[in-house]
């Protein structure tokens, strides 16, 4: 199994944790916690873009040449045909959601204490990013399981 998979997953989950920190920081906003949220969101964008790049690298190399044909020939071809196909496209939403959230924090940073509308918007987006990122991890697990099942079936 390629190290790229581990790095992709690590960066994705680091991005999720960064936006979880955004969410926690803005539940009771203060000047310090808003600054912390802005920095966390920036790191979240960097981690998710990194996960995008590394995931894409793996997808175009090891996954395309080795993993995909094995899964498709195995007992659970839907692990690629449904799960990977969905994941590789839904994942594309994440970096833009991250940039949006960071952008809103930057735009409203001086007002987030008293502007409940803007603060709630950032909270909703931050927690949504966390949920989507963890859904990506779940799909990744299903895909990896499909690969493992196919290897085991061919070994028996």
């Amino acid at each position: 199994m390629s190290i790229l998979v581990g790095l992709h997953a690590f960066l994705g989950e680091a991005g999720a944790l960064a936006f979880f920190l955004v969410f926690i920081s803005l539940l009771s906003p203060s000047e310090a916690s808003i600054r912390r949220a802005r920095v966390a969101a920036c790191w979240g964008v960097i981690f998710l873009v990194g996960s995008w790049m590394i995931g894409g690298w793996h997808y175009l190399t090891d996954y395309a040449l080795v993993v995909k044909p094995v899964i498709k020939a195995g007992p659970f071809p839907w692990a690629h045909l449904v799960m990977t196909e969905t994941k590789e496209h839904v994942f594309l939403f994440l970096p833009f959601l991250a940039v949006l959230t960071w952008g809103l924090i930057k735009r409203y940073q001086g007002e987030l204490v008293e502007n409940r509308n803007a603060r709630t918007a950032v909270l909703v987006l931050a927690v949504f990013i966390v949920l989507i990122a963890f859904a990506m991890a779940g799909m990744g697990f299903i895909i990896s399981s499909g690969y493992r099942a196919a290897l085991e079936a061919s070994a028996l």
């Binding site: 175009l60 449904v82 969905t86 594309l92 940039v99 809103l104 918007a121």
Partner: protein, 100 residues
């Protein structure tokens, strides 16, 4: 540079639906898939690049719009687009698999 929240939201919703559209079109239209491959070497890389260019372009074109007082409504529009767009993508590939 002051960010424009309305432009950010319009760009995000726009790019989400562009990704959904490109995803379906890639599966249904060989010429479109070939166009993405010619553009970027691989259809998924092509979609990624088109999405980045479109997001930037839509934001720049929208940044003079007057900001809405209700940015939460925009956030819900984004969440709704992701949920619906994601369901469309998942359902499409599930149907394609089941239908063989």
């Amino acid at each position: 540079m002051k960010m424009n929240s309305k432009a950010l939201i319009i760009a995000t919703v726009g790019v989400i639906w562009l990704i959904v559209g490109m995803t379906l079109l890639t599966e249904l239209s060989v010429p479109f898939k070939d166009l993405l491959v010619r553009f970027a070497g691989h259809h998924w890389v092509g979609k990624s690049l088109v999405a980045v260019i479109a997001f930037s372009g839509i934001y720049l074109l929208s940044q003079d719009k007057e900001e809405s007082a209700d940015v939460l409504k925009g956030a819900y529009a984004v969440v709704g687009s992701v949920v619906l767009g994601g369901l469309i993508i998942f359902s499409f590939f599930l149907y394609s698999f089941v239908a063989g």
